[in-house]
């Protein structure tokens, strides 16, 4: 009997330790969630999945928390990572708000019935209608324009056209962010190939000129900053402006024939637990305060009335004629085609 008791004691000790180890880390989270569901009027948590930019997301989070007293749980990743996380979590959804760097993907979420509409958002009418959903499922609160980011020390002839980069002097000196990682790079390939008939020929010419597909946006730009490459095609402009501001030898040009402006959109998940908080978050992003934070990260604001900071304004950027409605399915084909060329 005694022996058996001791065995049980050891066993329960072992299990208790294992569970304790798990619970100790878990408790803080679950306590918070319980509190949120039990007393809706006290501190609530809001879960936001946000596709960068790193500094901006953190600033917005901080300002929003100060303003509303709500606690924000933030998951940051590339657009691709966030979409895959949403997919993996289908059985127990966690996110209340999603912020993606690609309208096409956002539209895809809407089509897949994963978003809910919020037509009454404050300042909704001030947002650029080209970037937002007419039914209020998502709002393009900011945008980046895609250009050619080049290294000012190593570049003699500044490129002025996309086709320039197919010339011999750029052999082995160009890269592009990987469209399967970067939402804006998919937008670029989509917009460019929709608007320009000869786009695929140019892309093939880049490939023949040694175009390297280089990870996410920052990785591609980093190669230019450190001088490994001379220019990034479809470089996101706000990153280039930011690097330039910190003294890096980098500059961005927008080809005269036009480029793609890639909006970043915010939407509320259909399964959001904290709908009220999610709406407050959207309102904050669209507010003048939120829009100012956007401009401080060198992005284009969704509200045209807010002045840009140290960068080209929207009407100074030549644009290709691109429509984002229903673009997700087409983007998939384009991505496959792109991958077939480069892999």
């Amino acid at each position: 009997m005694k022996k058996r008791f001791k065995l049980l004691a050891t066993a329960s000790f072992l299990v208790a330790l294992t569970l304790a180890g798990c619970n100790a880390t878990k408790s803080t989270d679950s306590v918070k969630n319980d509190a949120a569901s039990a007393k809706p009027n006290e501190v609530q948590t809001l879960t936001v999945y946000s596709a960068g930019p790193d500094g901006l997301a953190a600033n917005i989070q901080q300002a929003f928390e100060e303003k509303t007293g709500m606690k924000v749980e933030m998951f940051q990743g590339t657009t691709g990572k966030i979409l895959s996380r949403l997919e993996a979590e289908k059985n127990n959804p966690v996110a209340d708000v999603v912020v993606l760097a690609s309208i096409a993907s956002m539209d895809g979420l809407k089509e897949a019935n994963q978003l809910q509409s919020y037509k009454e958002a404050e300042n909704a009418s001030k947002m650029n209608p080209d970037w937002s959903d007419a039914e209020g499922y998502y709002y393009g609160y900011s945008a980046s324009a895609l250009g050619i980011a080049y290294n000012t020390k190593n570049t003699k002839d500044i490129p002025s056209e996309w086709t320039d980069l197919a010339k011999a002097q750029w052999q082995g000196k160009i890269n592009i962010p990987d469209p399967s990682l970067s939402g804006s790079a998919v937008d670029f390939i989509y917009g460019y190939t929709e608007a320009e008939k000869s786009a695929w020929d140019t892309i093939q010419a880049w490939k023949n000129n040694g175009l390297q597909v280089n990870g996410a946006n920052k990785e591609a730009l980093d190669a230019v900053i450190t001088g490994d490459k001379n220019a990034t095609i479809s470089g996101v402009d706000y990153m280039a402006y930011k690097a330039k501001a910190s003294g890096e030898p980098v500059e961005i040009v927008y080809p005269k024939s036009g480029t793609v402006v890639s909006p970043r959109a915010v939407g509320i998940m259909k399964d959001a637990k904290n709908v009220e908080g999610a709406q407050a978050y959207v309102n904050f992003l669209l507010s003048d305060e939120g829009q100012k934070l956007v401009t401080e990260a060198y992005l284009l604001p969704g509200n045209h009335d807010i002045a840009v900071k140290d960068r080209a304004a929207l009407d100074e950027i030549p644009q290709l004629n691109v429509s984002w409605k229903g673009s997700e399915a087409k983007q998939l084909d384009i991505l496959t085609k792109f991958n077939d060329i480069f892999r």
């Binding site: 066993a11 072992l14 798990c22 878990k26 989270d29 924000v72 990785e219 980098v250 480069f342």
Partner: protein, 553 residues
């Protein structure tokens, strides 16, 4: 005794099964069952994809080449460290393990920054541009991975050689003919069994490696299993079923390799561990052997540590990265940014430390009980538990991670730890349990049976025997296992990338995301801090092992 009862077997098996086996079953289930019906269409879809074969070919080719690379590095090093005057410099062993302890993605980033066009090499030595082209190829990738993995093979070979050194060599000297024949007929056959085991583990580690393929491989367009699985899980468009199918396939490949290794291993097993401690004999080398040895060691250290760390440290100190190596372009700003309280980097680093401590403690406890149960693995049940607990060693981490995600997201679970920090700890525990089990098992095997017998006679009851005698004797091994688990948890990347809950980052994912979106300088600063702490821990570990040795002697 406690650990022999049927119940403890049941309990231990339940723990191991829930955490390590269930995820594997979840992968297989998710791959083959669709809406409750058995369905192989998913799996055949994978085989229809041409890229699968290319990926398989790439992975296997890489594995073979890395075996070659690590052999070239490790074998001479093992001989130098046992047969020449360099054998007395034990600090070399710690230095030589630094490359293995360096997170692989950081090591390869260091190499990339050094070798790339306009990189540090070209700034230091103009006119070396042609080297860059040669480097950014499969050759460079194999070199970077071999430099990372060779310490593992080296330590295995060196330990075997040390054991052979004793009575076998004496016998060979007395009865053998030429020294060449002694080598060929005595030493080499004795080395083979541990070499085969070593290269098998190298092969599996290469298949399981994510960091280098993700950074270096993606640059040269060389896709392997781990990057493909990760891509299907985290790139748009997401295809989870494809990821699980690939995981099942990778799992099968590893199990087959492991099976063959077992066949070969059994054929060449000799008992080299006789009770006698080999007497260290005085060695005198000719000057050219000594010079050559030092030259070789210096050369390896330069490539394995010098170059990557040069790039990492310089990058963490640079003011304007576009200005390269230039006086006045250095600052401690990145470190300042990291050590500002509440900075993302510091928070991530502390998260890593906390997760790693939890992992080390939990695996040590479970590992102790498993080791006590397994003992020498004489019964079928003991062997089964042994196999299960060491399985994470032969199965790539990403397979377990995918399985854990599938398992903990299953709709029928009443409660889930997914999206909590507990998930991270559980994943780490599953991945690193083998280290705890192995360390405890090996120190258990050093205890003589007589200790158990006398304890059984004089001890009051079995609990006391464990508490007062066995566990204290094992403590040194347990602590060593904990340190090892801690170090390895600190650098785990792919698990973190896939399972971390919102708002939580570990040091490794923080560094990785700095390359993707943020500030590379700060990422490198966190890397330097992590590695510095790892090295301190390694010296502690070494001190601990020696201190234990002295006490016993």
């Amino acid at each position: 005794m406690i650990m022999e009862s049927r119940r403890s077997f049941g309990l231990l098996l339940t723990i191991v099964a829930t955490f390590a086996i269930a995820p594997l079953i979840a992968i297989v289930y998710y791959t083959f069952v669709h809406d409750g019906i058995f369905d192989v269409s998913q799996f055949s879809r994978m085989f229809a994809n041409e890229r699968l074969w290319q990926t398989l070919g790439n992975s296997l080719l890489l594995g073979v080449l890395v075996i070659l690379g690590t052999t070239i590095l490790a074998l001479p090093m093992a001989f130098i460290r046992t047969k020449t005057t360099l054998q007395k410099y034990d600090w070399l062993d710690i230095v030589l393990t630094i490359p293995f302890m360096t997170p692989p993605y950081i090591g390869s980033m260091g190499w990339i920054l050094f070798m790339q066009n306009n990189g540090f090499l070209q700034q230091l030595v103009p006119g070396t541009a042609w080297l860059s082209d040669a480097f950014f190829s499969l050759f460079g990738m194999v070199m970077v991975m071999s430099l990372h993995l060779f310490p593992f093979l080296y330590l295995m070979l060196k330990n075997t050689l040390l054991r052979i050194n004793g009575s076998f060599l004496d016998a060979a000297l007395i009865f053998g003919r030429s020294s060449l024949r002694n080598w060929l007929q005595v030493i080499l056959p004795l080395l083979i069994s541990s070499y085969v085991l070593g290269i098998l583990l190298i092969f599996i580690k290469t298949l399981a490696e994510f960091g280098t393929p993700a950074t270096f491989g993606s640059r040269i367009g060389f896709q392997v299993f781990t990057t493909e699985i990760h891509a299907y899980l985290s790139r748009w468009p997401v295809d989870i079923r494809m990821a699980t199918s690939l995981s099942v396939f990778l799992l099968s490949v590893c199990l087959i390799i492991w099976y063959f290794q077992n066949l070969i291993g059994r054929k060449f097993t000799y008992s080299v561990l006789s009770g006698k401690t080999p007497a260290a004999r005085e060695i005198k080398d000719k000057w050219f052997i000594q010079l050559g040895s030092w030259f070789y060691v210096g050369f390896v250290l330069l490539f394995a540590i010098g170059i990557p760390y040069f790039s990492i440290i310089v990058t963490s100190l640079q003011k304007v990265r576009g200005d390269g190596l230039r006086a006045g372009n250095f600052t401690l700003a990145s470190y300042q940014a990291v050590f500002t309280s509440g900075s993302a980097g510091l928070t991530a680093f502390i998260n890593s430390v906390v997760f790693s401590i939890f992992t080390a403690v939990i695996t040590a406890i479970i590992g102790l009980f498993i080791a006590l149960y397994i003992k020498k693995g004489e019964t079928k049940k003991q062997q089964l538990l042994d196999f299960f607990s060491l399985m994470p060693n032969i199965i790539p981490g990403i397979v377990f991670v995918v399985g854990l995600i599938m398992f903990w997201n299953a709709p029928w679970l009443p409660a889930t730890i997914y999206n909590t920090k507990a998930m991270v700890v559980v994943t780490y525990c599953v991945l690193f349990l083998p280290y705890a089990v192995q360390y405890t098992k090996s120190s258990l095997s050093q205890l003589d049976q007589s200790i158990f017998q006398s304890a059984a006679i004089f001890g009051r009851n079995s609990w006391d025997v464990y508490r007062a005698i066995i566990i204290p004797l094992l403590m040194q091994g347990i602590l060593a296992g904990m340190m090892m688990t801690f170090i390895i948890s600190m650098r785990e990347l792919v698990a973190g990338l896939l399972i971390l809950p919102p708002s939580v980052e570990t040091g490794a994912t923080f560094i990785y995301s700095q390359f993707e979106q943020g500030n590379v300088g700060i990422g490198m600063a966190v890397a330097v801090i992590t590695v510095a702490m790892t090295v301190v821990f390694m010296f502690l570990l070494n001190w601990l092992q020696r201190w234990g040795g002295h006490v016993r002697a």
